[in-house]
Structure formats: C-alpha cells, structure tokens
Symmetry: C2
Subunit: 497 residues, 2 copies
C-alpha cells in the first residue's frame, strides 16, 4: 500500500478517534454535571460531627446556665450573644470560606500564598512568590500566575473578567494597543479581551492588586472568569509584622526569670527563695504579694511587688509575668522548694528544640498533673461543651520521650514570656484557679508536660488566716467561676474529669 494510502488511513483513523472523543466528552461532561453520588457507607472510625448543632454534655457535666441567677439570665445571655458576634468578627475572615477548584477550567490562578500589604500595589502572584519565608519548589510554579490556557479549539476572540471586592486591579496593555482591549484598569473589575491568547496572557501576567482599605490582617476574594468557567481565589491582606524576639544572652540568668505569687506565707516564701539561691545564685525572682500586712522581702535580683490586699491568685500571676524581661519565666508556687532535680536548663532545652512550644510543665514531688481539654463548640448561641480530662495527653515530643504534648500542666512550668500574648491569667479569678489559664489558651498555647524535671513541695503549715482566704466556704468562688465560663468562654456545660 502506498504512503499516501497510509496517510489517508491514519488521517481518517485520527478523525474518527477525535469524533468519538468529542462525543464522549459531551456525554461524560453532561453526566458529571448531574451525577447523583452513591452515598459512602459510614466508616469504622466516627468522623468529627458536623457543626452547627448543639454539643452533647457528657454525664457529670455542670449545666452552666443553671448557675446564672434567674433574674439576670436574659440580660446576661443577650450580652454574651452580642460579645460572641464581635469576637467572631475579630477572629474570622474570608479565609475561612470554603473554596473549590472547579475541574476542567482553562484558568490558572494562585490558590494560596498570594499575600499583599495593605494599600500597596502588588503584581499577582505578588511578592510572596519570592518572599524569604516562602519556599516555592519549582513544581508549584507554572510560569506566570494568572492565565488562560485553552484545551479546546481556537476562537476569534477571548475575554476574561477579573474582579475583587476590597481593592483595585491594574494591568498594562500599552505594548499591545489595538491587539488587546483592556477595560476597568484601576477599578475593581478588569476585563481583558483579545483575539490572541498569547497576548491576552501577556497582559494577564501584568495584573496587579491594591487593597483600598488599611487592615492588619484580612482578605479579599477575587473572581476570575472566562465564558462559563469561573474560579475564586483568596488575596490575603497583611501588614507585615515587626518581629519581637528576646536576646537569650549567655547564661541561664539572662534566659529565665522565676515568678512567684505569695499571700501570707512568708515562711514558705523564704524557704523557697533560699532553695532557689542554693542552685541559682543570680537568677531574677519576681514576687507578686497581696498579703494583708506586706512584709518587705529583699535580696539581690529579688523584686517584690506590693498589691492591694487579697487581689488574688491570677491577678498576682499576671502581675509577675508582666514584669518579666527574659525570654522565659518559670512559674513556682510559694510553698515549693528547689532541689537537685529542679534543672531549669533541661526545660529550656526542650523549649529551644521545639520553638512552637509555649509552656513546658515539670513534676511536683515526682507527679506531673497534666490534663487534656476536649472542646466542642456546638451551637454558638447555646454555647459549647468543655471536658477537662485528668492525665489526658497526646503523643511524646520527638527526641524527648519524657515530654508529652497536652492541654494543661501543673503549677510548676516554664513558659515563653510572650505566651501571655496568647492566654492571660484572668485577674477575675481570685482564689482557686489554675486550669483556667490553659482553658483560655486552648487552641493558642502549645503545651508539653515533662517528667524529667521536678520541684519539691514544702510540708503543709498553713495558718488559719491563709486557709480562710484560700478555701472560702459556701462555694461562692465556684459559683462565680461557672458564671465566668458561661459568659467568657461561651460555654453551655463543663465537666472536670
């Protein structure tokens, strides 16, 4: 058979295949449009329940709304609702919206990492492409970002539309006058039209975005469309943060301060201080003191702060931490006592090895009283469910088998001083309070509990006066705490397990 016949044969085969392809595309495309999905059988592991729906209070939970005085309930409930709405406004943005990349779209666009400073014009994909903290491996970059790449036949003209909500778009078609029609340059909606796909893409590669409003951290949503194809992608508007880092200096004294809250127990305090000085002669000690009749505590690098009487536990903790100038602070109760095994350096080592950690707890008399928190935000107007699980923990820290990630630790811990920028010791909590710090910090604080560093506990010798204050009768303190959780944490119920 002649060459020409072969060519004819090949040609017609190709034509035939193409035609089949065309038909099949049409059908499969239509099918995919209105395909009813066979429901997947529920898997063995129970998946996370879908919100919003009320959360279930575990048996033994305290129903918090029962703890709000009836006559106040409606007003309190209303105020909580309003505050929660504002909290949501502060903590969520366009970035929480679910976006999907539609299949078979000829459009190319950035789906993540396009970040612009407020009010500054940035080419898309923008400075982030090469910003230091962005490691862009080649396989992620397909040349210029915005572009139209048709897989289907050529057309006499191509028209793409790009629009944004919180900013302005600009592009440059000056090199292609007559060949590319650019509309809306400097406006929120940009239209680029051309009979040449190549030139259209060249102009698309020049598109810049500029936010119209100042905000330290928010986002815009861009819509990009061509004919019946459309896509949305996020533009993160972020004022670059000035780093705030601490100088570790050379020795432990320039790395850690010891923070103590004391109340009426000067004997204990003095014993603690002398034990500290036995092992750490120069380390700074910050004492928050709300005793009724304050007694002067002096000593090299020992700083005593006198509070109004009985301001309370967390007020004192907050005060002490507010005065720390080192990268870390070590929390100790005034009736603890340092020993050979109170090696602060070992806690610093873990922190330095895992910079994401905020708090590392040790053990008191050989016991690590860590706990995990289970939180289900449930229905937002009704409130969430919180469960404190004693001894609960997650997994060990790689390289530190004595350290486990958890939600909260004992009263003896090392913390990054700026962890207070994630969770505060709420000064409203006057007497019995500890877990509350970790509850307020749930979702912000990275906490670990380590068993290889421990501190001692002095024998109990509390004065009656001390006990009168520390352990109030009638449970008024407890009642107040439940009311606080109801409002502050938008909770429906809480269980201490």
């Amino acid at each position: 058979m002649t060459g020409s016949t072969i060519i004819k044969l090949l040609f017609s085969t190709l034509i035939f295949l193409l035609f089949m392809a065309y038909l099949l595309f049409m059908t499969s495309f239509q099918a995919s449009q209105k395909m009813e999905i066979v429901p997947a059988k529920t898997n063995r592991l129970a998946p996370v329940p879908v919100s919003p729906r009320p959360c279930t209070c575990q048996p033994g939970s305290v129903q918090l709304k029962d703890r709000i005085p009836e006559d106040q309930f409606d007003k309190v409930y209303q105020r909580r609702k309003e505050e929660f709405e504002k909290w949501k406004k502060r903590t969520s943005s366009e970035l929480s919206k679910l976006l999907l990349a539609p299949p078979n779209s000829p459009l190319q666009y950035p789906i993540q990492g396009f970040t612009v400073p407020p009010l500054r014009r940035c080419p898309i994909p923008g400075t982030h492409l090469t910003a230091p903290q962005v490691s862009t491996s080649p396989d992620q970059v397909h040349g210029d970002s915005l572009s139209l790449k048709l897989s289907t036949g050529e057309q006499s003209s191509y028209k793409v539309i790009l629009n944004v909500r919180k900013g302005l778009l600009s592009a440059d078609a000056s090199l292609f006058t007559g060949e590319v029609i650019l509309k809306g340059d400097g406006k929120a909606e940009l239209t680029v039209e051309s009979s040449s796909l190549k030139l259209l893409n060249a102009v698309l590669a020049s598109v810049s975005y500029q936010s119209s409003f100042y905000h330290v951290h928010t986002a815009d949503l861009a819509s990009f469309s061509f004919e019946n194809h459309g896509a949305q992608f996020p533009i993160i508007i972020r004022q670059p943060q000035l780093p705030v880092i601490f100088d570790m200096g050379a020795d432990i004294s320039s790395q850690v301060s010891i923070t103590i809250k004391t109340f009426l127990r000067y004997d204990n305090l003095k014993e603690l201080l002398s034990s500290i000085r036995r092992f750490y002669p120069n380390i700074t000690v910050i004492i928050a003191d709300d005793s009724i009749e304050p007694e002067k505590i002096t000593g090299e690098n020992i700083h005593q702060y006198i509070m109004p009487p009985a301001q309370g536990w967390f007020a004192g903790r907050n005060l002490a931490v507010s005065q720390v100038t080192t990268k870390y602070f070590l929390w100790a109760d005034d009736d603890f006592i340092f020993s050979q095994s109170t090696k602060i350096e070992k806690m610093v080592e873990v922190m330095e090895a895992v910079p994401e950690l905020d708090v590392v707890g040790g053990s008191v008399q050989g016991n690590t009283f860590h706990f995990s928190l289970e939180y289900d935000k449930g229905d937002e107007t009704e409130g969430g469910c919180l469960y404190r699980k004693s001894h609960g923990r997650f997994h060990a820290i790689p390289g530190y088998p004595q350290c486990y990630l958890t939600s909260g630790v004992v009263n003896f811990f090392l913390a990054r001083t700026d962890c207070i920028q994630k969770s505060r010791f709420d000064p409203l909590l006057k007497r019995v309070a500890h877990s509350e710090f970790f509850m307020d910090g749930l979702g912000s604080l990275m906490v670990a509990s380590c068993s290889h560093v421990s501190i001692g506990h002095q024998p109990k010798k509390n004065s009656n006066q001390y006990n009168k204050f520390r352990k109030p009768t009638g449970g008024s303190e407890q009642a107040f705490k439940y009311q606080l959780h109801f409002f502050k944490n938008n909770l429906k119920c809480i269980k201490f397990g």
Copy 2:
C-alpha cells in the same frame, strides 16, 4: 441536495473543525508551555519591591549596628540570627507557600477553608463546609469536593493518587468491591482505581483526613494527581479556640478601667484623680507606682500597686494593664486632667462599632499626635528598615469622620484589654518610651486616632528629682533603645520623622 448529503456535509465540516481544533490546541498548548512573556511596562504606581533584598535606609536613619559595642557585635548578631530563625518557625507554616491551580485539570479539590482539628478524622471537604463561621454561598460548592471530571475521552480505567505528609487518609470502597480498587486506606498515600468514573468519584467523595500529630495551628499539603495532571491543596490543622470575651455589663464603670503609671508626681496624680472623680465617680482606677518613697493613695475603686523603685515607664504600664478586668482600659499619664470633653463613652462607641479595633487614641490639649509606621523587612539576616512618620495616617473610619486609621497614637487612648495579647509594653524600656508599644504591635494592632475626645494637660511643675530620672543625661537610655531595636525587632535602621 438531499438530507443525507446535508448530514454528510455537516459531518465532514464538524470533523474538519475538530481536526483544526486538535492541531491548534496542540500548538497553542505547546506554545503556552514555553511561551516567553512580553515584559509588562512598569506602571505609573511603583509596585511593592520584591523580597528578599536589602531594604534601603532613608536619609536621616540611624544605622543600628553602629550602636552595638564592637566587642559584642559578632555574638549579638549571631544570637539575633538564631532567635529570628525560631521566630520564623513559630510564625510561618505551609500556608505561606505559593500554590497555583493548574489550568485544564480534571481534578476538583478544596483550595481554601478545609480545616480539621488535630488527630480527628474529617471527611474532605470536612466539617468546615457548614461550620458556623463559614458562610458558604451555593456558587462555591460544586457537590462533593474531591473528584475527577474528565473533559477528554473515556478510558478503560481511571487511577487517581492522593497523598499527604502529616496525616493519614481513609476512604470507603466497601460498596463497590471488585469495581473499585482502593489501596493505602489508613495510610499517607491513597490510590483509587476503577473502570467507572462514577464509582471512582463516589469513593473519592468518601475520603477522610486525620492528622497524625497534635498542633494548635499548622497545615498539611495534599497532593492529588491523575495521569500527568497534579494539584496541591492545603489542609489547615487547627485546634478550635475557646472564645475569651468580656461582659460589658450595663454602665461605663463595668466597661472601662483607667490605668495610670506614676513616679514622684503625687500632686499631679491627685489632681488627675479628683478630675476623674468629677466625671466618673465609680470607675476603677489602677495605679502603678514606682516612686522612691511611695505615698499611700486611697479611695473607693482606686487600686495602687507599689513597684520596686524606678522600675520604669513600660514596666508600670504593663503592670497596670495586667490588673484590668474590664473589656477596655483607658491610658492616661499622671499629669493629665479630665475635662468636659473627656468622654470615654465616645471612644467606647467607636470600638464597639468596629470590633477589629484594638486601640483608639484621643487628643491631648486638642492635639492628636498620631504617626504611621513604614516597615520593609528587607534582607532577613541584615535586618529591616523602619520609618516612623509623624502625623502619618491612613483613611477615616466609615461613619466616624473624626477617626483615622493609623499605626500609633498619643499617650491618651482607649484599648481593648486583650490587645495586650498582640503587643506588650516592653518592661525593658524604663524611661522615655511610647512609640515602642506600637512598633512591637505593628501588623497586629488595629489603631485609630480620633479628634473628638480630648483630655487636658496639667501645667508643668516637675521636681528636679523627677527630671533627673525622666530625662537622663548622656543618652544612655537612647543608646540602649537602639540596641534593643536592632535585636528585638531584627532591624537594620530606624528613622524618626
């Protein structure tokens, strides 16, 4: 001409068009692959410079490294480098990587908003689809998330691969035994293969992700591929945060506390206090006092905290704020004086109208001393450039023409108490310090300056002793501040304009 002829004619035209389409697609596709982009002419507005590259210090800037004692420089520089690296680890994640949606991919996947709690199994797109804070408008949801939708011809078999780095994938093919081959269920790489696109997609719709590690906020990157088509999408791993909100109560006293730092100026302080009581008889006043010989200040709802002598300006501010239990605190210097026009309520009104605001400044004697900060992070080892621009501001707040967004304000401001969780009054700054709070908070604090609320200033009557402390000679304080900026803020130069 007969019907059959017409059909033949149409058919061959169609074939011909298809063939042309095919050829043109191939060429345009190849072209697009290696298309050299015509560089866009620089637009009239200068775009943001591309990092990393050294930033340019404006004329009049202070070169900070010249302020570090030569003999210490190398060590300090090295420590700064190390701390900055750790800071980056804490503040960046996979989420800063640039990702692009490749064009003409048959794959559908979530590009944003797929958020999972750590260690919990979540169907993709996951609970976020209907989570309260996510308003998903129908046009964004294209049925099930993960799917393969071919635009090209049918095949005898389809095989997609999905893999992740920090978690495990699971899916359910139990309904389609023999029809769908599922490999790697419960592992980091999942393969789904079938001769039916419909069944393949049904199984893809059942895919779940579960992170293998506990983290409060990090991300995984999923890779999804089919033949030569690939896509990457982020999976946000986030431990849900417990809300922390304040009860505003009913009146101004339950909404705002007044915070004051005082030093040796009891006459001024007493005048301020009596002016406060003239207009706000019950509002809580918190006084941080580091006078050499403290004098007792008493009064209903007036709380005085005695610090060790001369601890300094910011230590005192930090202390005062640490004791606040109301949603807002009002900062005032001890030589200010309340007047008719010191209407705290008006500041609260602005804050409540714009929940994202952290700080609202007023005017002192009719002057609003606001400033804007221009920060270029520049080359990270060399450090960034910071420029404080007096009177600099952005745009007015909608509805409040007297209020402009800016970077920093005067010593008289209302702040959200938890703004301290974004920026701290660095206690290392002992004497002359104010802007530093807003510098440390750049990128975190939303700040506005309002001209419609003002406070008075008492006539100067400073004792020599006061001046000796407040305005140290020899500029030792200034020298220290420059060293602090060099390290703490990873800066190369700073300019006060």
